[in-house]
């Protein structure tokens, strides 16, 4: 099997075969192959946005589904994400220059007291892949950090992440402060992280808990679509 794969010359594959191969290469976390394939598709005249959505996001969705179903584990997802990052690095400047559609804007960060950012980084990358502009605040964010960012950036969505049961209650502190300031309903608040669940998301007043990066993208699209419809109707 490995020998067969070694024999594959990416440039000889048809577009359809190459996208299929990119799905496999993402699944296997092969960064160099992904970078090569992205460049091949660009040379063939593909739009950067199409490469991103059809090949990279498509492939990562398969990875996300298999992670959800217990077929893949965190190390494999990280390798896949790393491979996607390689492709994104090539595409990102091209996406900006070609005026790819922007679905919405998100401010995202890991909460105060928590330095874990693997999940958050994955969500950021997938959101960018889905056409969102993402402002990533990094780790260990206090209330003011979130509030300053949403005031400055005016995003559609605020995303908060936590890996620890000791830090996840801080999400409620942020949401409660937004309520106090009368700005809670101006933003869609999405939360995620390994120890969270839907019940927790509801209890703290978030709009939704997102189980994984793929769910975060779908949830974000749904909520932003709804918000735009409400604005249009209003």
């Amino acid at each position: 099997m490995a020998d067969e794969e070694d024999d594959i010359i990416l440039a000889d594959l048809s577009d359809e075969e190459l996208v299929e191969q990119m799905f496999d290469d993402l699944y296997d976390g092969l960064k160099e192959e992904i970078e090569e394939s992205v460049n091949i598709l660009l040379e063939r005249g593909w739009q950067p946005y199409d490469i991103l959505t059809k090949a990279l996001v498509g492939g990562m969705t398969i990875v996300g589904n298999d992670f959800r179903d217990g077929i893949l584990f965190v190390p494999e997802v990280l390798l896949a994400a790393n491979a996607m990052k390689g492709g994104m690095f090539i595409l990102k400047p091209l996406l900006i220059s070609t005026g790819a559609p922007r679905v919405g804007k998100m401010v995202i960060g890991t909460v105060k007291g928590d330095i874990h950012d693997i999940g958050k980084n994955l969500v950021s990358m997938m959101m960018e892949g889905a056409g969102f502009e993402v402002v990533d605040l990094g780790i260990n964010n206090a209330v003011d950090s979130y509030l300053d960012a949403i005031e400055a950036e005016q995003p559609d969505i605020l995303g908060m992440s936590a890996l620890l049961t000791t830090t996840m209650p801080y999400m409620k502190v942020v949401i409660d402060t937004m309520v106090e300031k009368g700005i809670r309903d101006d933003y869609i608040v999405l939360v995620g992280g390994a120890p969270l669940n839907e019940e927790f998301g509801k209890a703290i007043g978030a709009d939704a808990y997102c189980r994984d990066a793929a769910v975060a993208v779908e949830t974000a699209k749904t909520f932003v679509g709804r918000k735009h419809n409400q604005l249009a109707a209003g």
Binding site: F73, V74, P75, E76, L78, D114, I115, T165, P195
Partner: protein
């Protein structure tokens, strides 16, 4: 001395109760050695111990169910049952389950906290430290290196540990060989190393209360 299975057995299978005491402690396998040392040192012959697989540490969502099953399986054979777990990533669910079952557990978020003493640990407020105990140093590969896939993909190390700045070895015992092993763990993770002697911390107080209360 109470006999103790090897660390791998404590990690994967835990420890069965002997069935010969009035008080049962249901503990994480990572605490077996420490609890039996305290039992032997204090002559608590009426205290029996059973341990759940220590690897549940990596799967906190399974802890509450496993503790519930152990309580139900054993409680009719003892006068009293105690739970030697902290919250351990259950997000308050273990505390709620213990309250519902009418059994006492250890106060504190996790063993790193109660080994150092909950107040002292909280006061440090150090978020960039990665902790290991005696048990976790000995079982570093089983709990850290392999589950994170670092045995197969060492290049992932900085994605996991890039935001940490040091490994704190909370030593329950004075063991130069274990300290050297902990230092090697820090080196492998690319972190600075600090050894902190904690002894048994709040665990000793809680066990004393349970054994003599």
């Amino acid at each position: 001395m109470t006999s103790l299975p090897d660390d791998t057995t404590l990690t994967d299978a835990g420890l069965a109760a002997r069935g010969d005491g009035r008080v049962l402690v249901i503990a994480c396998g990572a605490l077996a050695r420490e609890i039996l040392a305290l039992k032997d040192a204090n002559g608590w012959t009426h205290l029996d111990l059973t341990c759940l697989p220590a690897i549940l540490h990596n799967h906190p969502e399974k802890i509450v169910g496993a503790v519930r099953a152990a309580v139900e399986r054993n409680r009719s054979d003892y006068d009293q049952v105690f739970i030697a777990y902290g919250d351990c990533g259950t997000g308050g669910l273990l505390e709620a389950a213990c309250a519902e079952m009418g059994v006492e557990m250890i106060e504190g978020p996790h063993c790193y906290s109660f080994f150092e003493g909950n107040d002292a640990f909280a006061a440090r407020d150090e978020i960039t430290a990665f902790y290991l105990t005696d048990f976790l140093v000995r079982q570093f590969d089983a709990f850290v290196w392999k589950p994170l896939g670092l045995d197969r993909h060492p290049d992932l190390r900085d994605m996991y540990f890039g935001n940490y700045d040091r490994l704190v070895y909370q030593a329950q015992t004075d063991d130069p060989a274990l300290t050297a092993m902990a230092q090697r763990c820090a080196d492998r993770l690319g972190l600075a190393f600090e050894r902190r002697f904690t002894g048994y911390g709040d665990l000793a107080q809680d066990l004393k209360g349970w054994a003599t209360g």
